[in-house]
């Protein structure tokens, strides 16, 4: 447990406070056990974990869609415990973007889908129209109002799904694998959209398997595997690679590579997480080394490289794997 709940102010109302949340599906699958964490306003948090870890299940608890007797009072949003009877009042506080956009685009027209939330919130028509236009613009779909959802491409559907939540202007936005199935360009555009939201001060929770995107998106990472097995800043969590690998996860490619570089004599304490971080790290290291940097092969380089690489080769240790 590398959990770190220290950084959180206990005074002001947290954006999200989950305390000892448990959930078992009716068929007996225990999906969540003793989950506790807090997220401050304005934080942007990545929620990671292997397939079946309960990430999506947790998301559905954040606005009370899923709930059980044992979950009463376990989730507080903006200081108020969730009332499962008032789920329809939640969208002002927290908006959820589901993984499959086809589940979110249920109206015949895209504009209707984007207007769905605001209308339910009782906002008046002209204002709704403005918000529809604005939300579509923000996800790069300006002018798509009268498009039919089933004719959109995969990437467009993803962005449309986000627009349907943006239009309600919630304080917290939670997303389930927003970058899955996107081509690299659409993925980057989506990351940019999320970054804009972050800069605007929204509280973000992003479920993702895409570890290379995390450093760009999140200040903090929570690792879930039925329960919270790690919680800390992005750097802290990624530093504990043993725990991550044990949970079937990975650290960003660049970080793995800098571990290799260390074996070649690269002096660094804090491994960079992304290419941009790496550039900074390189520059600093070289400048500290008075303009130069030496890499070399010493006696243990190859054993060290072997050890570092072996760490991330899940399949070598996986019991149920062929060969």
């Amino acid at each position: 447990m590398t959990a770190k709940a220290a950084a959180m102010g206990a005074g002001a109302a947290a954006a999200i406070r989950v305390h000892d949340l448990n959930y078992t599906y009716p068929d007996g699958t225990a999906a969540l056990e003793h989950v506790s964490f807090e997220i401050e306003k304005g934080e942007s948090v990545a929620l990671v974990g292997p397939n079946g870890a309960g990430k999506s299940t947790l998301l559905l608890h954040l606005n009370g869609i899923l709930h059980s007797k044992t979950s009463r009072g376990a989730v507080e949003i903006l200081g108020e415990p969730i009332n499962p009877k008032k789920v329809h009042k939640m969208p002002k506080k927290i908006g959820i973007v589901f993984q499959d956009p086809d589940d979110m685009l249920f109206m015949p027209l895209l504009a209707d889908d984007v207007a769905f939330g605001p209308i339910n919130l009782g906002i008046e028509k002209d204002e709704v129209k403005r918000q529809v236009k604005d939300s579509l613009l923000r996800v790069g779909l300006a002018g798509y109002e009268t498009r039919v959802s089933h004719h959109l491409s995969g990437g467009e559907k993803k962005r449309a799904a986000i627009a349907t939540v943006l239009s309600m202007d919630p304080e917290i936005i939670a997303m389930d694998e927003p970058t899955a199935n996107l081509d690299p360009k659409s993925r980057e555009e989506l990351i940019e959209i999320l970054r804009t939201l972050k800069d605007e001060g929204k509280t973000l929770i992003i479920i993702t398997h895409d570890v290379n995107a995390i450093p760009e998106l999140a200040d903090r990472v929570i690792v879930l595997e039925k329960t919270v097995i790690a919680d800390g800043t992005t750097r802290e969590v990624f530093a504990d690679s043993d725990m991550l690998v044990a949970a079937g996860l990975d650290v960003p490619t660049i970080m793995q590579f800098f571990e290799v570089l260390q074996a070649f004599g690269y002096p660094c304490d804090v491994l960079p997480l992304s290419i941009d971080g790496a550039v900074k790290n390189l520059t600093e290291t070289i400048e500290n080394g008075s303009g130069h940097l030496h890499l070399h092969i010493h006696k243990h380089t190859h054993t060290e490289v072997g050890a570092v690489r072996g760490k991330y080769q899940h399949h070598r240790t996986a019991a149920n794997c062929p060969k």
């Binding site: 969208p91 249920f106 769905f116 209308i119 339910n120």
Partner: protein, 266 residues
Amino acid sequence: MISEIDRYAGISSPIHRWDPRFRLISIFALIFSVMLLYNLQLVMIGMIFAIILTCISKIPLSFVLSRMKLVFIFVIPFFIIIPFTVIGDGVEIASFGGITLSYRGIEYVKFAAMIVLKALTAVMLIFPMVGTSRMDITIKALEGLHMPNKLVQMFAFTYRYIFVLDDEFTRMDRSLTSRGFKRQGNLYTLTTISKAIAMLFVNSYERADRVFYAMRSKGYSGTVATLHEFHTRWQDWVNTAVVVGFAVLLQVAATSDTFSAARGFL
């Protein structure tokens, strides 16, 4: 697989510009009126009116005919069977296995023709009725006509998910084919397809849950409203007067002596 009736909703014609609420009601009334007729001449007049409406709507005739072909296959048996098979006296032509072919004369040909014409008229009128605006607008018009909100929601969501599930089944069907499955008329095919459909149901049941969750998380509390607004102009009233007027006229004519009712033959 799902051909879209609203493929030509984007073009412009007087029918397209007609307020969908009025259009639905008027043409619906017209269809009812024609179906109540039992006189071949009047049915033909109704049919001609339907053709005129369809022409005004500028929906390509080839599109209309391609749909009517299907209906033709449904109703043509009446046309062939009825004149020959009515029990009772008539000119016996042949008989096989209990079914006697006997020719009952021109009146029955007329009766059968009337049935076929009525069916075709109804199908043809569907085009100006719902083919002239996008399906989603048509569904909103149902709401404008004060159909219960739950039912309107069911139309809207069902219409949306038909396409999603159709894609789903198409993909499943392709995966069966790509593993050597060939549809034949045997039990194996039947049980295999049944299982594929069962899977479709299980998946859609789970999707239904997710859709409901998504709706709830967007504030759904039972009713659905949209931004769409219908605007009524005087032209809508004129169109309505013409079509509904014609429907009433047909009924008035039917009660007059000039057009004897054909029902007496039965």
